[in-house]
């Protein structure tokens, strides 16, 4: 009895992995199909295999996903040990070994990197904030709100939606204002409200950032499908097309 009460189900692992995002695509690695397998023994030894769309996917982003998966799985109550393995990648050995040893990126790629990946992650969170701004503003504009009115809006005045919740989460992660009284349109670097004259350009930048991320996600999904015939754990079908 005691065993079954404390053992960790694979669904708990999958739930933990759903919190891990591809920093470039701003989507969970589960829904993208990057989780090839995840399992946990009765004793709490967790094993996760990750896969990516190509052999040459950028090693810095690959490292972040493996490291984040390691952290997320390790934090699941009842998990005693964690092994995360990136498959079929040119830097698999370096990344898997570096993450297992908790070495950090710079030591994992000794001589090839000068620092950790915090700045890189923040840069892509800012892109996610821009893309999320388009996701939130586009329906408002379509419903007849004019851009000047958007400028005057606070987050609390936007009707609740999944994109709005997501935008708030990304802003929180960056330390940007995300409360109800925070302006909807802010500079993702300074956190300051956009000036009136800059609104059209800001919205255009938000739009192209979203298009860029979504087009990349489309290509990545297509490449992954071509590379692996099986679906990933927790993979969800593409929304487009």
């Amino acid at each position: 009895m005691r065993e079954s009460l404390t053992s960790v189900g694979p669904e708990r692992l999958l739930a933990a992995l759903e919190t891990v995002r591809d920093p470039e695509l701003d989507e969970p690695i589960t829904s993208l199909g990057f989780v090839a397998s995840c399992a946990v023994s009765a004793d709490g030894d967790a094993q996760v295999s990750l896969r990516l769309p190509t052999y040459f996917c950028a090693p810095n982003f690959a490292y972040l996903m493996v490291a984040d998966a390691y952290d997320a799985v390790s934090a699941v109550p009842g998990v005693r040990s964690t092994l995360v393995v990136l498959e079929d990648h040119f830097a698999s050995d370096a990344i898997n070994g570096g993450v297992a040893a908790q070495a950090g990126f710079a030591r994992t790629f000794d001589g090839e990197a000068v620092g950790e990946l915090h700045d890189l992650r923040a840069d892509f969170l800012r892109k996610a904030v821009m893309a999320g701004t388009d996701q939130v503003c586009r329906p408002l504009l379509a419903a007849g709100t004019d851009p000047a009115a958007l400028l005057a809006m606070t987050l609390g005045e936007v009707p609740p939606s999944r994109p709005l919740a997501r935008l708030r989460e990304r802003r929180v992660e960056l330390g940007l204002p995300a409360e109800d009284d925070a302006p909807l349109l802010i500079d993702p670097v300074t956190g300051l409200q956009i000036s009136a004259g800059a609104v059209p350009l800001h919205l255009r930048k938000a739009q192209v950032t979203r298009v860029s991320i979504e087009a990349n996600a489309g290509i990545c999904r297509g490449m992954l499908r071509y590379r692996y015939v099986t679906s990933g754990q927790g993979e969800t079908p593409e929304e487009d097309q």
Binding site: F56, A58, E112, L117, L120, K205, V208, S212, N216
Partner: protein, 342 residues
Amino acid sequence: MYESNGEKYFVVDGHMHYWNAAPDNWVPGAENYAEGWIKCFHAYQGLGPPETHWSLEHFEKYSEEDLMKDVFEDGYVDVAIFQPTYLKEWYKEGFNTTERNALMGEKHPGKFVYNTRWDPRDGDVGIEALKRNVDRFGSKGAKLYTAEWNAGSRGYKLTDPASYRFLEVAQNLGIKNVHVHKGPTIWPLDKDAFDVADVDHAATDFPELNFIVEHVGLPRIEDFCFMATQEPNVYAGLAVVIGGLMHARPQFFAKVMGELLFWVGEDKMLFGSDYAIWEPKWQVEGFVAWEMPDRDEFADYPRLGTAGKKKIMGLNAARLYDIKVPDEFQLPAEAGTPVAGA
């Protein structure tokens, strides 16, 4: 030449290859990389129409006859621009070198433009090789792959001091067009390898050179677009955009085209098939037939008309490379002249 609805299009394929990625060309000890590279390319082909997919074996090494048929006989291309990629750490004779391209091309006079390349980490030896290639093959353009591995280094930036030295030499040798291709690695690895900020700086500091950003900066279209609006000598190479999205993701294709037309404009966009990743035939036919969807979400994008398609299909590249275009393909005067090359 492609003809549709009574309109004639002069087709310049601005980005194509003649590679050998078969096992006989793999460097011992680097087989995983050589195989991984070509399999990655092969997966990209999977984004094109199924009837255009090749076997991996054919894809690794195709013949001169295959290329001539696919690109010129079936593919409507009038002039094709070779973009060499060396990768000599993985492929014994290089993936596709200036020499390999030119040896094939010289049997077909007038069909090809031979771009060369350089690697700023090669120092004086690289400078001499560049001079020889320009002298021997008449190169007016160069393709730079910034993620190339070289003696333990995983890449470079255009703003590296050594890069500026090469850009100066190249300009003095008469190189006009620099095609920049970003890849997944760079030094240092903790930076975003796809960042195009270095192209921005180089374009400002070398205003007489044209910088064609291949794959329109994919996966950083937004960074590329912001930069291209500010730099008059920066162009969009459409390889991968058409091949990778037009068939597989038509909605995203329309949106990416809309963004490019808005930020960059039809005067600064160049067709490239990326052959042999994708054959030009379906790309030319599909692009000429393509229209921006008539729906609300595409309403604020510029439209692309016949004149714009003619520019993108060939007239813009012809201007950059001084390729003679017969009168029947030229735009009527009121359509405006395509982009003036620097």
